[in-house]
């Protein structure tokens, strides 16, 4: 127990001493990690916001059933029952002919006064259905559309097939892209950190050789380097989160409004807390891996001494 305490005390002391002795190298490494993680974080920020936007857009995937102008109340309520009985339908909304006309006129209010002058209503009533989110939603919508088409009172159907397909391809694209960038960056980070540790190692090569010769255990030699890597990872991640938060604040302040046409009113959010924590943890793990990788090499190669 006392030995362990002594060990920890010495190892922590050695780590702190190393960090101080190579302060500049340490700061440079942390800065490098910060930059790299900030970029990764920026992508994640975009991604997390895209995801929440997408769930908004997602809600717009719907099946619209246009009704015959002369549909009877009876037919309407039969249809409604049908919709509401379908297990995948999340929500059903009815738009009467009058409401449709109101909306239509409203959306044309821009500069086309002529529409206002129409003195009859050409629009049909309609049901709008939203479906529960599921991977094969599109197929389910198609199947349901088949059934509905044959119902009395239904004039025509519309659903966002083309748009949804594109949208899903785009999602794949974004994810492939993020995976590629994230993977590259993690690789880059491991390399950077292992380089840092190598630097730290080189500047203490003689010390390490001596330690082995006078009877230090391998664990005693290795631990400060591993801790150093973890520290680099930790501080880098924290600094990059701070930087990201500042960027986020700046973007919100200056550009939220002008980005509205992309975000459609969704407020740009910071990374979810769990993601931030994960970033720190992953960065520390990457630091550990980088330092383990380089220190392992050295201790292996010098084993005979």
């Amino acid at each position: 127990m006392r030995a362990l305490f002594q060990f920890l005390n010495n190892v922590l002391g050695a780590t702190a001493h190393n960090l101080k002795a190579n302060r500049q190298v340490f700061l440079v490494s942390v800065a490098t990690i910060t930059v790299a993680l900030s970029i990764l974080g920026l992508f994640l920020l975009v991604f997390s916001n895209l995801k929440s936007m997408m769930s908004t857009w997602d809600r717009q995937v719907q099946l619209i059933v246009y009704l015959d102008d002369d549909v009877s109340e009876d037919q309407k309520s039969k249809l409604r029952a049908l919709f509401e009985g379908h297990p995948e339908v999340e929500e059903v909304a009815f738009t009467s002919r009058e409401e449709a006309w109101e909306n239509f006129r409203h959306s044309f209010s821009g500069g086309a006064d002529f529409i206002q002058d129409l003195d009859f209503n050409p629009l049909p009533g309609s049901f709008h259905m939203r479906f529960k989110s599921s991977p094969d939603r599109l197929d389910k919508i198609k199947d349901f559309a088949q059934v509905l088409n044959k119902q009395p009172g239904v004039e025509s159907l519309e659903y966002g097939e083309k748009w949804v397909a594109r949208f899903e391809k785009f999602m794949i694209f974004i994810q492939v892209f993020l995976l590629a960038v994230g993977g590259l960056l993690c690789l880059g980070l491991i390399l950077i950190i292992s380089n840092t540790i190598k630097l730290s190692y080189y500047s203490r090569q003689d010390e390490i050789e001596l330690m082995r010769l006078i009877g230090a255990t391998n664990r005693y030699i290795r631990t400060p380097f591993l801790l150093e890597g973890v520290c680099v990872g930790f501080f880098g991640a924290v600094a990059s989160l701070a930087l990201l938060k500042a960027m986020h604040y700046y973007i919100q302040l200056r550009f939220q409004e002008s980005l509205d046409f992309l975000t459609r009113g969704v407020v740009i959010q910071f990374l979810p807390f769990s993601w931030s924590v994960s970033m720190v943890v992953v960065s520390m793990a990457v630091g550990l891996m980088g330092s383990y990788y380089s220190i392992h090499q050295f201790l292996e190669s010098g084993d005979r001494q």
């Binding site: 002594q6 010495n10 001596l210 010769l213 009877g215 230090a216 005693y220 005979r304």
Partner: protein, 218 residues
């Protein structure tokens, strides 16, 4: 007790560095190791604390079978042995005091003891005044004495010294020899490799002479 039986070590050159060395050094002995440049003195010392592996033969050092010793237990052997390296191996960015203290820290001695022992060791080699200097700021002889202090500070049961007076003037060499003798009186086995004819001529201790990797009868 240090026992070598038919030890053979080659670095791959034309002739082996150690060529069938057999010798026994008893616990508490003080022996000189000498021989011309390249005879294998340093190699022999290196094999004792497994800085080099032997090719053939048996080496027993205080109960450790050095040839078969597992890497993970190597540190246990090395903690029993204090070494004065031919090239000192002082850390240039630690002070004299820190250099000596370092040897104890890495084997987990607690802080208070470290201080007391370090001070004591520096006093013995006459370097308390230089305790805050860095090795590059020392003369060759001063560096050598720091190396000796560091080898002694852990109270090893064996002391290996490789040319520990090479950079010392005769007076200083005599003083350092007295230090080793003092340690020896306290039960430390001392093996001292040297070319120093004055030390050898004094003739108070047995001399093992090596030549081309072989022990020469003397």
């Amino acid at each position: 007790m240090i026992q070598l039986f038919n030890v053979f070590k080659s670095y791959g050159g034309v002739s082996p560095a150690l060529d069938g060395v057999t010798l026994t050094i008893h616990k508490g002995d003080f022996v000189y190791l000498t021989g011309p440049s390249g005879a294998g003195k340093t190699t022999l010392l290196k094999i004792l604390f497994r800085r080099e592996r032997l090719d053939r033969g048996q080496v027993l050092v205080h109960g450790f079978n050095v040839g078969k010793l597992d890497d993970s237990r190597l540190y246990q052997l090395r903690r029993k042995i204090g070494v004065v390296f031919q090239d000192y191996k002082l850390l240039p960015r630690k002070t004299v005091f820190q250099n000596v203290a370092f040897a104890q820290e890495v084997i987990g001695v607690d802080r208070k003891t470290v201080k007391a022992h370090t001070w004591q060791a520096l006093k013995e080699v006459g370097l308390t005044q230089k305790r805050n200097a860095y090795p590059p700021e020392l003369s060759g002889g001063e560096q050598q004495r720091v190396a000796i202090a560091r080898a002694l500070v852990n109270r090893p049961s064996i002391l290996l010294a490789d040319e520990p007076t090479g950079n010392l003037d005769p007076a200083m060499a005599a003083e350092i020899l007295a230090l080793f003798e003092q340690a020896n009186r306290n039960g430390v086995t001392v093996v001292l490799a040297t070319h120093n004819q004055e030390l050898l001529r004094a003739g108070r201790y047995p001399v093992i002479t090596l030549n081309r990797g072989r022990v020469v009868e003397s």
